[in-house]
């Protein structure tokens, strides 16, 4: 996904002279072609996230479209106020490309685990949050980010993630019904679409059919599709590679509560609980540890149906 997003930045920049790229201190091979062919629009600016955001905002206010990449935790936590004021308040066309969204960097420990990026950015007016499921969806998504007004956060997966998102034109703000069933609805975003699909297969073998709603745009939320799908089933589970506080699960819960589904629906969030994840291992082993697995989703759906 990371390779594709960078390839796309290069391709888009070749066609559109307004596009700039800013990195902090990225790998030496990153966008080599961009740097060679469009050196004045390629900026590697050092480990100074507050400055990077401010500078990007300045360029964007002058009519440029700035793609800015660094590690997710540094890109969101370190410079949060710059994001709020210089990007969101001023509605500048800066696209934050966050490497290692969620627990991709599991072996690197808590400083690198972006388990709260969606929650903190979701609270800020004018921010748009995207989390595609795979590299192909990223390829479809990127052209939509060029002329979109206001800042965008683009959450990257690990890379090599299975291609599972439906091959449909990408529209920012639109949810995609990936499967339809009558017993439960699984709502998800990003790479956990694959986990949800696996869970659906497990449940299907037991005669339970589920719908899957993939929301690659977390903000603005496609509440219409959420409600259309939710009304059809008694049970709803939200799965995300993120803390259960303030992310997609919370967002969906807010929509359901306000639609008056309180008594008639069984609902559960699956994600990282309210802890700093402990230990290292891999993204997969940490997902396993915190139950972000097909097995746990399937069991949760069954339990809610009891």
């Amino acid at each position: 996904m990371r390779k594709v997003v960078m390839d796309m930045v290069y391709e888009l920049a070749k066609k559109d002279p307004r596009i700039f790229f800013i990195g902090s201190d990225l790998g030496t091979e990153v966008l080599k072609n961009f740097k060679q062919e469009m050196p004045a629009r390629f900026l590697m600016e050092g480990i100074s996230e507050q400055h990077l955001i401010g500078m990007a905002a300045g360029l964007a206010a002058e009519g440029k479209i700035v793609y800015l990449n660094t590690i997710a935790t540094f890109l969101t936590r370190r410079c949060f106020e710059q994001i709020v004021l210089d990007l969101c308040l001023h509605k500048t066309n800066v696209r934050l490309i966050s490497s290692g969204g969620g627990i991709v960097y599991a072996p690197l420990g808590p400083t690198h685990l972006a388990i709260d990026d969606i929650a903190i950015l979701r609270a800020v007016p004018n921010m748009t949050i995207l989390a595609p499921a795979d590299a192909e969806e990223m390829r479809r998504l990127m052209p939509a980010t060029v002329d979109y007004l206001g800042p965008i956060y683009i959450r990257l997966g690990k890379g090599g993630d299975p291609i599972v998102a439906p091959n449909l034109p990408f529209e920012i703000g639109k949810g995609y019904v990936v499967r339809e069933g009558s017993d439960a609805l699984i709502v998800t975003t990003g790479v956990t679409l694959k986990t949800a699909l696996d869970a659906a297969d497990v449940l299907n073998q037991e005669g339970i059919t589920v719908s899957i709603l993939h929301l690659p745009t977390i903000k603005p939320l496609d509440t219409k599709t959420i409600l259309e799908q939710a009304v059809k089933v008694p049970t709803i589970v939200v799965v995300e590679e993120h803390t259960i506080l303030g992310g997609l699960g919370s967002a969906v819960a807010e929509v359901l509560m306000e639609a008056g589904f309180t008594d008639s629906k069984k609902f559960k969030r699956i994600g990282i609980p309210d802890v700093f994840p402990e230990g290292y291992g891999s993204q997969a082993s940490m997902m396993e540890k915190y139950g972000i697995t097909a097995k746990n989703i399937a069991e949760t759906v069954k339990k809610l149906r009891e």
């Binding site: 507050q50 206010a61 002058e62 106020e81």
Partner: protein, 269 residues
Amino acid sequence: MKLDERSRQLREQMIRVMEKGKRGHLPSAFSMTEILRILYDEVLRYNPADPLWKERDRFILSKGHGCIALYVLLAEKSFFPQEELWKFCKPDGLLGGHPERHIPGVEWGTGSLGHGLPVGVGFALNAKYEKANHRVFVLVGDGESNEGSVWEAALSASKHKLDNLVVIVDYNKQMTYGTTFEVQDLEPLAEKWKSFGFGVREVDGHDLHGLRSVFSQVPFAPGKPNVIICHTVKGKGVKFIERNFSWHHKSSVGEEEMKLLYEGVKNNA
């Protein structure tokens, strides 16, 4: 040094703004009155009829709390009607306690410190990229210079050889709690900026001739960003608020005090 009539009049307007809005960071505004006056009277290129005119010089008031001074000048230059000044901080007013970009003539919304210079670097970098000859001026406070982002941006300005960027430091040496020397000493400040690759000038920030002269020398060295360290007095112009720590921000000023402020300015002739 006594103030001339224009400097006194500008301060009287600011007092009036504070009187109407019943609040404001008056001493911070007084500290940079001469700097802003010279900028808007003689240095900056702008067009009030077309505030976003492409060739305008960009001015960012990064120490946004001093905005009363900026508002008075922008109103005087017809960026917006004078009447707006009398609605300062009112529910239906254009002008709040910190500047916002929707105000004609305000280049960037500030209020949280340490934001203006990174944005200014973006502006200046864009001007270089576009081979445009407008300039970018960013006024920062001395307390603001505690923020790491100021120095991150300084590194970047120097790397990109932004000689079209002028940082102005309002060095009144006074923060909210105490002096900069007590709270967080910036000295040797000129040396710091020099070591960050800037062309540096120091000037008395209330001396009109000195300011004029130093602005006319920009760029100080080709290929280097510029900084002008303006030695100023917080509250300058009214003796009883000068260097008076109880006067950083006021949200209630009695009639008697207002009278004293007007008299204070008048007496500074």
